[in-house]
Symmetry: D2
Subunit: 303 residues, 4 copies
């Protein structure tokens, strides 16, 4: 089928490729004219035949909300907008209601798979009305991995359910990564194990901990043994925070996901005010030596 | 090749099957005569041709140490003992030294794969001398999964390295399981997602969080939707504790693995003395109502 | 000076007593006529001489917002409203703006001290304009503990700062209580220490961990040795959640405060869906026995 | 009474002062002749009248064990050794048994109070036989704070109980300090609160979180506003590790104390291998930019 695709970054670009390889007609729009198939959102909409389906794949938050609002002005009754970005699920109701005033449908889709999705397919979690889901199913079938539909696709519930599921997916992802990372650090610290990379590789088949993330960690260590080319500075893009906030909203204990989130926060601190306070306290009651700040001292070094 | 196998429980029994299917001659010994191929350890040793290789697959701790010591008395120079159980790595040095006094070799092997190993193969992490590893390689090759040897087998280092790697493997496993579990609970608590099992199944292909553990969780939910047939009481078998203790020994932060361990401890408490203390404190300073203990009140219920 | 006081529950009632003991004229209003000095909010306002100061001490959220809005209708230019409840700091800007349209001032005050405040005085954290702070200072001086003003009172910043400081105060409180509680549980579990209550009491002077909360824990154990009259079911009233959410907003690691919050969530669960999932996973891969749910089984008991 | 005191460092020196001020005769020994009252352990013992009481106040572990063993050789039946250092409680049984072979008694004493103990008195937790406790009571009464004996002293149980209680005391201390520290960092990060030091000071009277540690944090901030003279590098001296290990031994959840311990570990890392692994994973699956290590990049800085 024909699809308009707004946003041709790392994810959108690859999705266009996968969809075209599956025989769909994709007309893309991106502010970058080198990758865009149309000159503007209006031009994109004009190039599509009604009823139109437009997939939005731009950064979450204001950028997505803005594109959705503009599409609300450009599209017509019977058209459909799909937000495939990492929007917070709380944005979906507003988007759906806004589009509904023009008779335009809305689906929220969580998309997982990263840069490997073009080749492997993308895991898809969809929220919204069943009739819209059915309408877009050829697109979902092309994007999702080979195999039974239900192993790479789910209609998770009403509006917001797709992004909610993707949020939790990413929260879990934080926990999984941190679990492997702690184990890696311990193997690395211990004298007993002399082939850390070999141990991780030996876990990739048959073991209880085998997973795609483990495969990627093995690949990373193959490319950069000891990870000497990378610092332990880790960004977070929102879903982990939202997951912990949702856990709080529902009184669900989330010690692992929150610990993974806080480890990222700490990884980005040149120095920790909290640990300065602890050091100050130890100095106060015990006369314990402290590491004085100074022009020649780095984080964590004595002077 | 010929192998003596001591311990024919869930793991040992399946390993014997897999080894025999691969054409090896396995003579097993177990206290349960229904599964045993020999009448005693001495009988087992007598049935093996020198140089003998005996794989020990009995519970960690005293049972394993006892069997190893008995084998030290029964075996001769040039024989080899392999401890494939979940022994703490600190036991390995003692075992190896004890056997060395009789000229008997020793390998420690971490084995992962659970009840599925018979079919899928077992991930193997081996510690000890290279000459012993080479000698037992036909056994390792039969036990490990199909595919490149290094993706299911590693000679991780000297004596103790195999069990060390297995210990960390299990520590990671605790963290992974808890991460999925927290996400599952949140999906379950949220109104937005109406098909929790479907969401988990849709993650099994293409997504970043796909893994064998996820496959198992999907299977568990297929068999028992809502997990209504199971209570949240979770045992632990030692490796998670040892992992946290090793992390402490090496000053490695392990917030996720320790959180997963503590969640298991808490799952087994009918009531928590710590939370009784917190409730008592809130009552003391704020006059907050407490839940009084009584004959008709269960854990977590008001009276 | 003269003060109107809305809300005569555990906190408001005691504050009225303390203020009156200090010579202030307090006219209270509460829906409960047995403790109220006036028949309605309107009656309360009518009884006060301009410029009026009305302290609101009702539950946070909608109740407080409603009372503030009603006071906005009843009060006049030059009057002052003080919200001394545990409102979320994000409510304060709205309250202040609403009252400002009538020329009425607003202060937000975090009040700590619980039921002991009547005797010991209350710690006060105030947000808002300095002129209003100055106006209400006689009230603050009467409510705060004896001693230097700055050791029981702070003008913490502009509107919202008082409740922000109180929120963090309570977040810290969660962490402190959980720290003592974990230590208490460990002492209780260990055979080595035969006089747990005596140990806690011995910490109340001279030690590094001495504190008011410790005094209260000692008192609780004196009154109920072994805490046998209380279950470990712990409510939370919002500030701990908000603290963790604010920590997330500011990318501040909060492992201790969040752990304390999650321990409360877990304390209220009859069974944990997360731990059911972990139990199910262990059963899937290892054939580990599970605790089956059933009519005769309680949480944490085998069947 | 007369007391021999081995070890005149920060703690021992101050304790000698306090004991002498209370009228006791203290003969000290330290390797540093400037503070020592005797030339050797043997000289110290020779200077004491039987039955002798010798208090050992040297670093925990091998130094203490060595001094105790030497005293076993030098002392006679009816004498008493008191280990007042931060020894692991597991050392006490061995020390007591060793001394018992010479008929020498043994007490283990946890001492809290830091450098302030000289003035305020020390909190004392004692393990061992009641007859030895009674014998040394004049010393304990002089060292403990003014007030009822049970508020600064406890005979906690048999041999080991004193150090066990001190271990838990310090574990709690870790949690308390981290709770205040997290709150401090959040106050510092928020725009709402413009007088962070003032807020902490206002908590020192009347509030629920008032404590001696809070007083010290206020003092530290008075001396160094913003803590600009100190880095967030925090040592740990063992008791926190032991507390977590004991919690594991007893299956007691210790999320707060362990989080506080791990925060210290992390504070000492120039870079975190675990977070390098997480960064590498994000790069692998998402093409997320990483911070490359390089000669000009510091921890946590982009290049």
């Amino acid at each position: 089928m024909q699809l308009g695709l707004v946003g041709l970054g790392k994810m959108g670009f690859n999705m266009r490729e996968r969809l075209r390889a599956a025989g769909h007609e994709v007309i893309g729009y991106d502010r970058n004219p080198e990758v865009s198939d149309s000159e503007s959102l209006a031009d994109l909409v004009a190039k599509l035949e009604a009823p139109r389906t437009v997939w939005v794949m731009v950064p979450a938050g204001q950028p997505t909300r803005t594109v959705v609002a503009e599409l609300g002005d450009l599209l017509s009754e019977g058209d459909l907008v799909i937000d495939g970005g990492n929007s917070r699920y709380t944005d979906d109701r507003g988007n759906a209601d806004l589009l509904a005033t023009s008779g335009v449908g809305y689906l929220d889709v969580g998309v997982s798979g990263g840069v490997w999705g073009r080749e492997n397919g993308y895991g898809l979690m969809v929220g919204g009305d069943a009739k819209f889901v059915e309408h877009a199913m050829p697109i979902f079938d092309a994007l999702r991995p080979e195999g039974p539909r239900e192993e790479g696709f789910v209609h998770a519930g009403a509006t917001g359910a797709g992004h909610y599921a993707k949020m939790v997916h990413n929260g879990i992802e934080y926990g999984l990564m941190q679990a492997y990372a702690e184990g890696y650090e311990l193997l690395d610290a211990a004298d007993e194990v002399t082939d850390v990379g070999g141990v991780l590789k030996a876990w990739t088949r048959g073991t209880v901990v085998r997973s795609w993330l483990l495969d990627l960690l093995v690949k990373a260590l193959d490319e950069d043994p000891g990870l000497s080319q990378i610092t332990g500075y880790v960004e977070d893009s929102g879903e982990g925070r939202w997951t912990v906030e949702e856990a709080i909203n529902h009184s669900v204990p989330a010690p692992v996901i929150s610990a993974a989130l806080f480890a990222r926060f700490a990884s980005r601190q040149a120095d920790s005010p909290a640990m300065q306070a602890v050091a100050a306290l130890r100095n106060q009651f015990g006369g314990h030596a402290v590491h004085k700040a100074g022009p020649t001292s780095g984080s964590g070094e004595t002077t």
